[in-house]
Amino acid sequence: MANAIEVTGLRKSFGRTAALDGLDLTVRDGEVHAFLGPNGAGKTTTLRILLGLLRKDAGQVTLLGGDPWRDAVGLHRRLAYVPGDVTLWPGLTGGEIIDLLGRLRGGLDPKRRQALTERFELDPAKKARAYSKGNRQKVALIAALASDAELLLLDEPTSGLDPLMEAAFRDTITDERRQGRTVLLSSHILAEAEALSDRVTIIRDGRAVETGTLAELRHLTRVSVDAQTSRPAALDGLPGVHDLVTDGLRVRAQVDQADLDEVLGRLHQAGVRALTCRPPTLEELFLRHYFSAERSVAGAPQ
């Protein structure tokens, strides 16, 4: 089996609001797949359908070869889930909850539990009511990571963690991938997806707007060009040049891949003194998908 998750044309509405509007998502076995989108794009709804907590309205969903609604219990033995907003039982300690969730899932590795508790610096003897948001998240993370699940579904797992713990989280996910586990990581933190993921799906208003490896996504997109020339470079009006800012002899622009050669030629004619060309960051990709309307109105980058 090549795909851990296959979703096509998935629809789900709550009353009159369409949360998912024909979503497609494919997560291959053994990859870390980032599921990116702003709040309210439908990431959590998708994960809940994958967990069989919500019933789909239409579309095809296959999870680990099964139907997430019908085969929920059997499939859940093979996956672990960390919700975005972790709520625990206030009277139970973190350690008790980690053990309980592990046992409910069908066992967890005590050595990994110990190692992860140390790595995430969690005090397992504290009652859950005394935990901060970050610590509650650590409890759910440790419970998920200490299991031997083949698929991890993580919903914004680092939203409450400090930078140190975020680094620990990234190390752990890198280890998981090496061991061949499949990870679906929903996030709106792009640096996280950039650092961890093999492939990315960007979702907006309940629909996948972009999917592929980071390289593929960048291929589709523009290159950021920043140049100093000896004479004014005549880039104005060239096809494929966007968001042009001319500041004396300095020009900045977003350039379509196909028109890069022409632009570089013009710069060369103007006498290049300094030149930076770089692939767009995910932030820029993201901005393009979500704020293109505002940008075209403002007419200037940043």
Binding site: R48, L51, G52, L53, L54, R55, A72, V73, G74, H76, R77, L79, A80, Y81, P83, D85, V86, T87, L88, W89, P90, G91, L92, T93, G95, E96, I97, I98, D99, L100, L101, R103, L104, R105, G106, D123, P124, A125, K126, K127, R129, A130, A140, L153
Partner: protein, 543 residues
């Protein structure tokens, strides 16, 4: 510099109090109004009912002679001075009105201090231009406003029932001051522990001790430790003797407690950090015991504390009420109207049996309340997102629901058995046949289990099929049944209405006839509902 070192002692420490008080009143407007109404209506209703049931001085004197001398009733209701309608009202409801006023104060104070602090809301509020003591002051003002409203309303309403104005005012002040005393006690409790639950527990424990102290003191004979009552804020209401040789100076005691509690709370709040308590937060187990390994273990763990509390309350209350059954005939002999009422609810003529059967009906209604509270926990776990954690593991929805259903069924059966045993022992020990009566009453109590299960089934069905409205719907169904069972017979409602309540179809034991068919029907209805509920749960979205 002084202002910086002790910000709480300056006016700056109180900045924002007005806004926070308005917020507290806004958040509590319904609960506070309802509680004030319940307390006021309870006292006024008691005064009115006693006047109706005992219209003549001779009847009242007879009630005072029997009821006021019965140790079990003195434990439950307190001491009786005189035999006027006012004295009887103070006896019958003074302690309990004080108890409710105290509960109101405790819940309001903890809710607006430690609960908000624990939830982090106080941090958000405190980061605005709000003084360090503002939240505590706002909570105290809100609680005191509740006690004040009760006092003012009672001063106005009680004379309308025909009680003397001066005595009414003293009784009203006694109840209000009891609320103030527990406002001070709750303020201290809120400072002690970092958890709202523990803080509330401490304040409620003080209330429980106060009830027992005065119970022992009030029921003690002339040679007994009657002085114990003087230690209890709940007894001070009756110790003012509002309608017989009044001594208003007793009110100094609750006011002193209120002042001391408030002062102590401010002193502690001034010195401690936000979020910290005086008592250390006890660490728990670093890993789960072997017991916490499946949904049933989790459900038991989540529900066991509440069940233990219910069980203790059941044993305590029904043992005393059972003991009070001895001599109940004489007590009722003083009012033919009261006797009629009891034989209606109890459903039979023999007065002791009718009393005990009515007691078991109450045990059944309360057990239904317990069962509904357990079932709606399913919905609370769902909206609180804990259900998501469990259902994302290899736990099916049915298994998850069953784990709580088992607690509801076993828990309410246990409570009913305890009610029967305790009432049977309480009565049996007084008449010298504890074994026989314990058995009889345990059976009588368990006959109320089928209707309890029907109500639990209703709760389960709405959780399964009508999740958004399930919690109010389940409680409304219970409330309807309580009203039908307690007031239906007296209002002589038609059989169609009475038959709505499942309790109408259970036998009135001890003494009444037992028919298998209605019980079998009740069990069948409960079973159908309990299958329907999880079936709905399986079909719908979670969350």
């Amino acid at each position: 510099m002084t202002a910086l070192a002790h910000p709480g002692r300056t006016r700056a420490g109180l900045a924002g109090t007005r806004a926070l008080t308005a917020l507290a009143v806004r958040r509590d407007r319904i609960g506070l109004a309802a509680a004030v109404y319940v307390i006021t209506a309870g006292v006024a209703g008691t005064a009115w009912t006693l006047k109706r049931l005992y219209p003549t001085p001779a009847g009242r004197a007879a009630l005072a002679a029997t009821g006021g001398a019965n140790p079990a009733l003195r434990f439950l209701y307190g001491r009786l001075d005189g035999s006027s309608a006012g004295s009887l009202t103070t006896w019958r409801y003074g302690v309990w009105a004080g108890l409710f006023a105290a509960l109101l104060a405790i819940f309001v104070v903890i809710r607006h201090t430690r609960s908000d602090e624990e939830a982090g809301r106080l941090e958000l509020v405190g980061s605005a231009a709000v003084g360090r003591q503002a939240a505590l002051v706002a909570a105290l003002i809100t609680a005191a406003a509740g006690a004040g409203a009760v006092t003012v309303l009672l001063c106005a309403v009680l004379p309308l029932t025909g009680l003397p104005a001066a005595g009414s005012a003293l009784l009203a002040l006694g109840i209000g001051c009891c609320g103030l005393a527990f406002t001070g006690i709750a303020a201290v409790a809120a400072q002690l522990s970092a958890s709202a639950r523990a803080g509330r527990g401490i304040a409620l424990a003080v209330l429980g001790v106060a009830f027992v102290l005065r119970g022992v003191g009030d029921s003690a004979g002339a040679a007994g430790p009657g002085w114990l009552s003087w230690l209890s804020p709940l007894a001070w209401i009756q110790l003012t003797r509002p309608f017989a040789a009044a001594r208003g100076w007793v009110l100094v005691l609750p006011l002193a407690v209120a002042a001391a509690g408030t002062g102590l709370a401010f002193a502690v709040a001034d010195r401690r950090d936000l979020g910290a308590g005086l008592l250390p937060d006890r660490p728990g187990r670093a890993s789960a015991s072997a017991f916490l390994r499946d949904p049933s273990g989790l459900a038991w763990r989540l529900q066991r504390g509440a069940l233990a509390g219910w069980a203790a309350g059941y044993v305590f209350l029904f043992a005393i009420c059972g003991a009070a059954a001895q001599g109940i005939g004489q007590l009722f002999g003083t009012s033919s109207a009261l006797e009629r009422e009891f034989t209606r609810i109890g459903g039979q003529a023999a007065i002791t049996n009718a009393y005990l059967a009515a007691l078991m009906l109450l045990a059944g209604l309360a057990a239904a309340g317990y069962a509904v509270s357990v079932i709606v926990r399913l919905r609370a776990e769902e909206t609180g997102d804990q259900a998501e954690l469990v259902l994302a593991t290899a736990t099916g929805r049915i298994r998850w629901a069953l784990s709580h259903i088992v607690v509801a069924v076993a828990g309410s059966a246990l409570l009913l058995a305890l009610a029967g045993l305790a009432a049977g022992l309480g009565y049996g020990l007084r008449i010298g046949a504890p074994g026989t009566w314990a058995g009889t009453m345990a059976g009588a109590a368990l006959a109320e289990l089928p209707p309890v299960l029907v109500l639990a089934g209703v709760a389960l069905a709405v959780v399964g099929w009508w999740p958004r409205a399930s919690v109010p719907a389940a409680w409304t169904a219970l409330g309807l049944v309580v009203v039908i069972d307690l007031f239906g017979p007296a209002l002589q409602l038609s059989h169609w209405i009475l038959d709505i309540s499942p309790f109408t179809h259970a036998p009135r034991l001890p003494g009444g006839p037992v028919q298998a068919r209605p019980l079998a029907w009740l069990c069948a209805v409960a079973l159908v509902l309990s299958v329907a509920g999880p079936a709905g749960l399986r079909r719908r979205d979670i969350g």
